[in-house]
């Protein structure tokens, strides 16, 4: 007993000495961190700063950028009811779809987190599977469901609930469904992870002390899963506010979102300054949400970083 303790202490001292020997020299840090930090800073962060710079530049004929500072692009966004409307509506759609995604995602996350049966691993894989299926493919699949000759209309006409097809495609509802559908898996996962980690004894304690199941849920599980809900809400909102494919494929011209007009202004109209203004507006909307929720939940929790 004493000798094994002695031996263990000896090894841990040896380990400590070995670890102290590996110094974090500047060279080592630079070699390890350098390439990735460089890549993301130069190709991810610097371009964002360039976007801010371009948003103050003048748009010339044929997509030429005149390097003369102006507020014109910002004023244009503010004055144009069309663009301002699209921007605000994107944030509203993002908010609505976040709420609905959470309402659909919570029960299933709760179920997956509490259920410890034969099928639990399979059920989790089934939630992960669409997560790694292309957004483009999944949004296109909804086109097959929503179109006038699609399966939903076919079923509704077949059972005589409708006499003529319901127009679901190229509507705001269609875009909304597409966003909720594609956001659902990554709203489920953070809540699931938190509920899975809740100590079973706490729930038992509540019930031993006389709490009905409803109360042990409301007073124990729900408050403890708030950090997961916040993480899920942030992820869903950011995804939804920047959604491109759902409005492009399911919205047509009747439900355009801000990402679509950014691409349209950038690629088709070749108006980089105005595309930059719209980008700045979208990034600000996302940052506002990140800072607003950072009181409740840290970025590390949101993106699952554990170190």
């Amino acid at each position: 007993m004493v000798t094994s303790l002695q031996a263990r202490t000896d090894t841990s001292i040896a380990n400590a000495l070995l670890r102290a020997g590996r110094k974090s020299t500047l060279f080592r840090v630079g070699f390890l961190i350098g390439p990735a930090a460089f890549w993301i800073a130069i190709f991810g962060l610097v371009p964002l700063c360039l976007v801010i710079f371009y948003s103050f530049m003048t748009h010339g004929e044929g997509g030429v950028i005149i390097f003369k500072p102006t507020l014109h692009n910002y004023i244009r966004l503010w004055q144009s009811s069309l663009y301002r409307g699209v921007l605000l509506d994107s944030l509203v759609i993002a908010f609505e779809s976040t709420i609905v995604t959470l309402l659909l995602g919570y029960p299933i996350a709760y179920f997956l987190g509490r259920y410890r049966g034969r099928w639990s691993n399979l059920l989790i894989v089934l939630v992960l599977l669409p997560f790694w299926t292309s957004y483009l493919v999944r949004i296109f699949a909804w086109l097959l469901l929503l179109m006038d000759t699609g399966i939903i209309n076919w079923v509704l006409l077949k059972v005589h609930l409708l006499s003529s097809p319901l127009h679901l495609l190229y509507t705001r509802l269609g875009v909304f469904i597409g966003i909720v559908y594609s956001a659902l898996p990554f709203a489920i996962l953070p809540i699931y992870a938190v509920i899975r980690g809740i100590d079973e004894d706490l729930v038992d304690a509540a019930q031993v002390l006389g709490a009905a199941p409803r109360y042990s849920f409301l007073e124990v599980i729900l408050p403890l899963s708030l950090s997961g809900i916040a993480a899920a809400a942030v992820l869903t909102y950011i995804y939804a506010a920047g959604a491109f494919l759902a409005p492009a494929i399911l919205g047509g011209n009747s439900a355009v979102m801000v990402s679509n007009i950014i691409i349209e202004q950038f690629l088709d109209a070749a108006n980089w300054p105005f595309a930059s203004v719209l980008t700045v507006a979208l990034v600000l909307a996302i940052l506002a949400i990140l800072f607003g929720t950072s009181r409740f939940v840290s970025l590390d929790v949101v993106y699952g970083v554990k170190n």
Binding site: Y110, L128, S134
Partner: protein, 279 residues
């Protein structure tokens, strides 16, 4: 165990009711998740030119059409080459970065932790156009260079997050043993550290690979007529002319993506790994 069951027994009725309600929602959500993909599969076997219901006859016509559609096949080959290059790049520099973040202390570590998440937070459309603004300034033309740089950027966070999760529970005493037994640091890294991390690196770079293969919103800004990817072809077909061939492309992309969670689950369950469950 038995006592727990007894204690919850009095509220059996209410609990049962809640269970049924919960079961209904769970079934609905799984149906909601899978019905569209099932419809995608079924309509890929439509015989005609038009996407419509009901399906009166099944045919593999569009699978043959796809293999004779040379732009689509070129795009598929391009996509695979691009995904390979960018996921390998992301695997190498992402693994180094994960080791640095978990094992070294330095000024600005919090900033680097944040930096790694930037490509995940910024909507891909924004990553797309802002990288074009930068690289166009360097005089580069859109195409392969943009795509390699961009897809590596988008893949990096996956590698860093997954590998650093595995590093947290890493059995460092094995490295100590190698060093004590006379291996130098480089030998230790290649013969002990790297093999032990291989599952995390594989999973992380698989995420990066699949992401590259399927990415559209940023890719549309980077691709060029002389180098385009499969999602570009699929999107253009959706925009121009709907046909069951789009479903065939979709079926292939679903099948490739479906392999991934299987690998991920294999890694997550392996001893010594702590793959974050949110990824």
């Amino acid at each position: 165990m038995a006592s727990k069951t007894r204690l919850t027994a009095p509220s059996y009725g209410a609990k049962q009711l809640a269970r049924h309600w919960l079961k209904l929602v769970v079934i609905f959500v799984y149906f909601f998740l899978y019905a569209p993909i099932l419809v995608l599969f079924l309509t890929s076997f439509l015989p005609g030119e038009v996407l419509r219901f009901p399906i009166d006859r099944f045919s593999t016509r569009w699978y043959f059409e796809f293999f004779h559609d040379s732009p689509a096949i070129t795009a598929l080959a391009n996509s695979i080459v691009l995904a390979l290059i960018s996921s390998i790049l992301a695997a190498v520099i992402g693994t180094l970065c994960a080791i640095g973040l978990v094992r070294t202390e330095f000024f600005g570590k919090r900033f680097v932790n944040f930096l790694v998440l930037v490509p995940l937070i910024v909507p891909p459309v924004i990553t797309g156009i802002s990288l074009v603004i930068l690289l166009y300034g360097f005089g580069l033309q859109r195409g392969l260079a943009y795509l390699v740089i961009g897809h590596t950027l988008l893949g990096l966070p996956y590698v860093v997050v997954v590998v650093s999760a595995q590093l947290v529970n890493f059995p460092r005493n094995l490295e100590d043993a190698a060093l004590t037994l006379g291996a130098n640091e480089i030998q230790t890294f290649f013969e002990v550290t790297l093999p032990l991390l291989s599952r995390g690196i594989t999973a992380g770079s698989m995420f990066a690979f699949i992401n590259s293969l399927q990415e559209y919103p940023a890719t549309q800004a980077w691709a060029a007529p002389d180098f385009y990817t499969l999602p570009i072809v699929m999107y253009n077909k959706i925009r121009d002319q709907l046909s069951p061939e789009i479903n065939v492309i979709g079926v292939f992309m679903v099948l490739i993506g479906a392999l991934l969670p299987i690998v991920g689950e294999y890694v997550r369950r392996s001893p010594g790994s702590a793959l974050p469950e949110a990824i």
